[in-house]
């Protein structure tokens, strides 16, 4: 069945429809992920997005159904070069899998031309449709993407992830399950709360540390969460991941800016400033922190992206706050970033041991 990928600027890419046959619209994001397609599609970061995979052929060995990052959220559509309907081990093919999820897809698209177009003109809205007349293009232009992406993916009800170790409160801004997997691996007794949970609510859980998760959308849409961070950061060790990092930056008078070339890649090099160590980690973000404001703030830059020099991690000079903009939980991608969770646990430990009886929080 012939279908069309139509961009906001009127560019049309013809292709063949697969998966669900519904009409879909969303923010078009170009991803360089080669593997872990299952994780990209079910990542709550992908809420409201149509993901175009630049690898010419994906999902050839079938789908691993254990690789999911959320149960209820997923992307709005997928754009691929080609896939296969046969699989190596008899698992279900990519096309059948996204059909069960109700996601529309379009294949036989020239993904390299598409990727080039997006890198020249920036990220834009797009639609997968059956026609490509002017009416369709006008519709996309007029479409306003909803600003409440985090509200849609965040858990409504607090729930526990019980273990016997440190007590973590995870503020769900679009949490990937792999963050919880990493916390479980480290025996952290976690409670996951709504993105708007009040400081009193979080304090009543008596956490050892608070984690602000990754998530979709524009951080300036979340003024309440930013105000909550201002209160909580004076009382608890905090780890910010992805969107969480951007919110912490905004809560501390730093400014954020959109990246010229958004980072959507499962394996992009990041340098640890202190030691010069290079880690390959998963990135999924379109914003970065404006370096001009960092030097005036109480933060130091701890990680930078090797490709474009953008800030990928920061740490407060005297409060126990650390952040990374990349996704240390991987999924998909290499596992070099796992150490961030160990570092946060060390940070909690050193806050407890060395400051018992000393007023660290002023």
């Amino acid at each position: 069945m012939k279908r069309y990928l139509i961009l906001e600027d009127g560019t049309v890419f013809p292709g063949v429809g697969f998966g669900s046959s519904i009409i879909t619209t969303g923010q078009l994001v170009v991803s360089n992920n080669r593997t872990g397609i299952e994780q990209s599609v079910t990542d709550p970061d992908s809420e409201g997005q149509i993901i175009a995979f630049t690898v010419p052929a994906i999902g050839l060995s079938g789908i691993n159904r254990d690789f999911y990052e959320s149960i209820n959220s997923q992307c709005k559509g997928v754009v691929i070069g080609s896939s296969s309907s046969a699989t190596v081990d008899g698992s279900i093919p990519f096309g059948d899998w996204i059909e069960t999820l109700g996601i529309p897809g379009i294949k036989n698209v020239d993904v390299r031309a598409l990727s080039k177009h997006i890198s020249e003109h920036g990220e834009m809205k797009a639609s997968i449709m059956d026609t490509h007349d002017e009416h369709a293009i006008d519709q996309i232009k007029a479409l306003v993407l909803p600003p409440d992406l985090v509200k849609r993916v965040s858990t409504k009800q607090s729930y526990p992830n019980p273990n016997m170790g440190l007590k973590m409160v995870v503020v769900d801004l679009g949490l990937k399950y792999s963050i919880l997997r990493q916390l479980s691996y480290r025996d952290c007794n976690s409670v996951i709360v709504n993105y708007n949970a009040s400081p009193e609510e979080i304090e009543s859980l008596h956490p050892d540390g608070i984690i602000y998760s990754n998530g979709p959308g524009d951080p300036t849409d979340l003024p309440n969460t930013i105000e909550n961070i201002k209160v909580l950061q004076k009382k608890y060790p905090i780890l910010g991941i992805g969107l969480g990092n951007l919110l912490i930056a905004l809560a501390n008078d730093c400014k954020i800016e959109p990246l010229d070339q958004p980072h959507h890649e499962s394996s992009l090099a990041v340098k640890e400033v202190a030691s010069g160590k290079i880690d390959f980690v998963n990135h999924n973000h379109s914003y970065t922190i404006d370096p001009k404001y960092i030097s005036a703030s109480d933060f130091i830059v701890t990680n930078i992206c090797v490709a474009d020099g953008s800030i990928e991690g920061m740490r407060h000079e005297y409060l126990p706050i650390m952040c990374v903009l990349f996704e240390p939980e991987a999924a998909p991608g290499p596992t070099d970033g796992y150490y961030v969770f160990d570092e946060f646990i060390d940070l909690i430990g050193s806050t407890k041991n060395q400051y018992g009886g000393v007023d660290r929080w002023q």
Binding site: E272, A274, G276, E317, Y318, D346, S350
Partner: protein, 173 residues
């Protein structure tokens, strides 16, 4: 038989964490001086210095302290008359961070502090070590610890560092 308990990557991470902790606990690192106890303590000091420079863009002076003349088998009188080479930097009113690889009985640290007091009047002395293996014989504790490794007194801790041993690792035997 020697068993590797810390590999190069973990050692790198421990040194980075110590650096972050030094920044966190000192508002402004302008009056810091790193003093490394020979031999491997000096390398620890240099590695912390290079990290501070990368992060804060400030060069902290690093000095080497040789306390081998202080041996346990010396008489009190001999210790009084020890001459150890003076430091090449001014430590008056400075915050000294003393660095060593292993903290064990605490006698080395005491000797180092004695020597430092001979050279000047520091504002404060802190201690950073890669490994704290316990069994102190003096009331000394480290402010910054890379890794606490509980040991028996029969065991040996061997720290290898790239600068002198070709690779980074810590072994127990």
């Amino acid at each position: 038989m020697a068993k590797e308990i810390i590999d190069g990557q973990t050692m790198t991470r421990a040194l980075t964490r110590i650096t972050y902790e030094i920044i966190e606990r000192n508002k402004g690192i302008d009056d810091l001086v790193l003093v490394g106890i020979k031999t491997r303590g000096v390398f620890v000091a240099h590695r912390i210095e290079s990290r501070l420079k990368q992060l804060e863009n400030i060069s902290i002076p690093v000095a080497e302290l040789d306390i081998t003349p202080y041996r346990d088998d010396m008489t009190h009188e001999e210790i009084e008359n020890i001459n150890i080479p003076p430091l090449d930097i001014d430590i008056d009113k400075k915050h000294i961070i003393l660095t060593d690889d292993v903290l064990y009985t605490g006698r080395t640290i005491r000797a180092a502090m004695d020597a430092l007091m001979k050279f000047g009047r520091p504002k404060k002395i802190s201690l950073a070590v890669l490994v704290d293996r316990g069994h102190r014989e003096l009331p000394i504790r480290a402010d910054f610890v890379g890794k606490n490794i509980p040991t028996s007194q029969k065991e040996k801790i061997r720290v290898s560092m790239k600068e002198i041993d070709g690779e980074d690792k810590i072994e127990i035997e």
